[in-house]
């Protein structure tokens, strides 16, 4: 069990004025069996009224519209999350589990992924979690991480065929492999200890529970990850979504910091 502090900020600078912008942000950690968030603060600038709600997959979302001319948009979400309270995140509601049992969108396997799956020879393993772990170890060895080698539209099959990708691609390919193995699997967006960007991993259904596996880092999810949202693929749970009128060229900057809070040190201060 660890207590993590997170700080997520996003800034867009526009070359020209934006007259109206609509946004939806899915960047709020929710309580589950593995994590308990606390002290979550949301700051949007220029100050904009927003609404809170849950999307179809129960991901928390903040959404709103800024109808005043502006040339930048920024928000920052901070908070503390106790993680590692359990090995699994949620109990699976049987109805919802069905949704994650079928190829969809960016995770649809093609010939190359199917061939690769057949080469794994894992049919003898009955327990879904053990099977998923075995596939993860193999896949991690056979696939390379490479920054900026794909984009948000890259499908699992495309990313697999080129032999390298980023965490989103690791997750999509892994979901495709899980479906081929007959294991319901879902895409997870979240944050991981360190500095940089958001992260993505996978949850697999085993014994009625959703277990997190991080194929990019080759390990189960336990006390270094903060979960933000789930979906069938990345498009279901994009952290930032927006449309605007005007703006011209835009520059987006995202900063993420997640660090462990040392409780004793805090007491001494």
């Amino acid at each position: 069990m660890k207590k993590l502090h997170f700080d997520y900020s996003m800034r867009i600078d526009y070359e020209e004025m934006v007259s109206t912008c609509s946004f939806t942000i899915k960047c709020i950690p929710q309580k589950n069996n593995r994590q308990v968030p606390d002290n979550v603060h949301i700051d949007i600038c220029p100050p904009t009224k927003y609404c809170l709600g849950l999307d179809g997959l129960n991901n928390p979302q903040i959404y709103g519209k800024n109808g005043y001319p502006h040339d930048y948009f920024t928000y920052r979400i901070t908070g503390d999350v106790v993680v590692g309270l359990s090995l699994y995140d949620d109990l699976a509601e049987p109805g919802l589990a069905m949704i994650f049992n079928h190829p969809h969108g960016l995770n649809i396997p093609g010939e190359n992924i199917k061939k690769y799956y057949d080469s794994l020879d894992v049919d003898g393993i009955d327990d879904p979690y053990q099977k998923a772990m075995r596939i993860m170890y193999r896949f991690h060895d056979d696939y390379e991480y490479m920054t900026n080698s794909t984009n948000i539209y890259t499908t699992a099959e495309e990313a697999f065929s080129q032999g390298h990708g980023v965490c989103q691609d690791f997750a999509h390919i892994f979901i495709a492999l899980m479906h081929l193995a007959g294991i319901p699997a879902r895409y997870v967006t979240g944050l991981i200890v360190g500095e940089g960007a958001s992260h993505a991993w996978v949850e697999v259904l085993s014994d009625g529970k959703w277990y997190g596996l991080d194929p990019t880092n080759n390990k189960p999810v336990f006390d270094e990850h903060i979960k933000l949202g789930v979906g069938r693929d990345a498009n279901d749970c994009m952290i930032n979504r927006g449309i605007m009128h005007g703006g011209g060229l835009q520059t987006q900057t995202i900063n993420v910091l997640v660090e462990e809070i040392d409780e004793r040190k805090m007491e001494n201060d």
């Binding site: 609509s22 946004f23 939806t24 009224k49 609404c51 709600g53 849950l54 999307d55 179809g56 997959l57 129960n58 959404y63 519209k65 049987p94 109805g95 919802l96 069905m98 949704i99 049992n101 079928h102 190829p103 969809h104 979906g231 069938r232 279901d236 979504r241 449309i243």
Partner: protein, 439 residues
């Protein structure tokens, strides 16, 4: 005799329809063509008893389809109980995950259902397909009746025919039933939509505002109509004639320019009614069609009153074998296509086409359904002054207000091509009025 009188006025009525702008727009090779929707003056006539039977069957079907939609987007009991395989729901392009857990006002999903039927040569009616998204076509028989009454008033005083001009009242009652407080609006994608005439006609007849996306705005989880002088007035119900994908760029297709950002979030919170509710595509898919009689049994404990056309699902091994063995007698339909596209007749394929198709069927059995070709009753039309028989279907309209209502009329579409079974207006067909006789 009276019908003959009406025939003499065919040209007058068609001229009036043209003047009123009763047109159908279609996109072909990426350009927009507007064509007249040819009206044939010989009506389809349905006796009172026969329509009573249709009415009972249609209500039953639409009630079950609504229960199915509610079930799929909440408990999914029908799937858990093994009545419908998961693949037909969650791998279907009509299933929308965004609609999970969202309950429309008064649990109504399909406020307006367009159910297509044909009558076999033996007099049996068969359901061809259900249209639960934005079925169009009611305005055509409405205005045609109106014009026929003007050109041949005697016909309608001598015969006892149910007045079909009440469709607007039925529609208004349906809108009022779910209005959460505020304006009633009809949302159109605009002038270049295939059914723009219908949008403006129904707005005029129901007294609802005809609006486009830029006239609506979301603020604080509520939907507002922006008046001509810039004031914002609350909207309680939207009869939207924009497909799900384009309705809300923040929840569905982000490229949509005709939608209203966050309108689905307002709907999700119960602060506006959307007619029809998004997500209905999961219930009017051609694959799901096969299961509708099972659905009726499952939810209502009744046998289906109206028959489906005999249908096979190659997804099931037995059906797959049947399809291979009886290929030349069957019509094959791609479940993802609509409007008469993706429909092929086994006996009309060349050897090569057949071989290619069988390969595709083997690779993607879920993608197709196969049906026996129904020998349906021809209806007479007047073609260059001569009466000739042509294939025709009937689109019946079922409205879900405080109770299910069946409009005592319908859109009868016919094929102008003597060899064609495809009656869709997007493929050049014409239409007739549908007379339901009263007692």
């Amino acid at each position: 005799m009276d019908r003959l009188k009406l025939l003499e006025h065919t040209d007058t009525v068609n001229e009036l329809l043209a003047r009123y702008g009763v047109k159908f727009g279609i996109y072909k090779n990426n350009t927009f063509h507007e064509q007249l929707f040819p009206f044939d003056a010989i009506p389809r006539v349905i006796e009172a008893d026969e329509f009573d039977y249709l009415e009972k069957g249609l209500k039953q079907r639409v009630v079950a389809l609504n229960m199915f939609l509610k079930d799929i987007y909440s408990k999914k009991q029908i799937v858990k109980d093994g009545v419908i395989p998961e693949d037909f729901i969650f791998a279907s392009s009509g299933y929308m995950v965004e609609c999970e857990g969202v309950t429309p006002i008064k649990d109504v999903y399909s406020h307006i259902s367009g159910i297509d039927l044909v009558k076999g040569k033996d007099g049996t009616w068969y359901i061809l397909e259900d249209n639960l998204r934005v079925p169009s076509g009611a305005s055509y028989p409405m205005i045609a009746r109106d014009l026929c009454r003007r050109s041949s008033p005697g016909t309608f005083s001598d015969l006892k025919i149910e007045d079909n001009r009440n469709y607007a009242q039925l529609l208004r009652r349906t809108m009022d039933n779910v209005n959460v407080g505020g304006h009633s609006v009809i949302l159109t994608p605009g002038r270049y939509n295939a059914a723009y005439f219908e949008h403006s006609y129904l707005a005029e007849k129901t007294g609802a505002h005809l609006v486009n996306g830029s006239e609506l705005t979301v603020e604080d989880d509520k939907l507002y109509f922006i008046t001509a002088n810039g004031e914002k007035e609350r909207v309680g119900v939207v009869y939207r004639r924009i497909s799900d994908e384009y309705l809300d760029p923040m929840n569905f297709n982000p490229e949509s320019l005709i939608g209203i950002p966050h309108i689905y979030d307002v709907f999700r919170k119960g602060n506006v009614a959307l007619m029809n509710a998004p997500g209905n595509g999961v219930a009017d898919d051609k694959g799901i069609y096969y299961f509708v009689p099972k659905m009726i049994k499952y939810y209502l404990g009744e046998d289906a009153i109206l028959n489906n056309a005999p249908t096979y699902l190659p997804f099931y091994e037995d059906d797959y074998k049947y399809v291979i063995e009886n290929f030349d007698n069957l019509v094959l339909k791609d479940v993802a296509e609509a409007g008469g596209y993706g429909v092929v007749f086994g006996n009309k394929m060349t050897k090569q086409e057949k071989a290619d198709f069988l390969e595709l069927l083997k690779a993607e059995p879920r993608r197709f359904i196969a049906q026996e070709v129904i020998d349906f009753q021809d209806l007479d039309i007047v073609d260059n002054g001569i009466q000739v028989p042509r294939k025709a279907d009937l689109r019946a309209f079922v409205l879900m207000a405080d109770e299910p209502l069946v409009w005592k009329s319908g859109l009868t579409r016919f094929s102008r091509n003597p060899d064609s079974f495809i009656v869709n207006s997007s493929q050049g067909g014409g239409f007739k009025d549908t007379w339901v006789l009263s007692r």
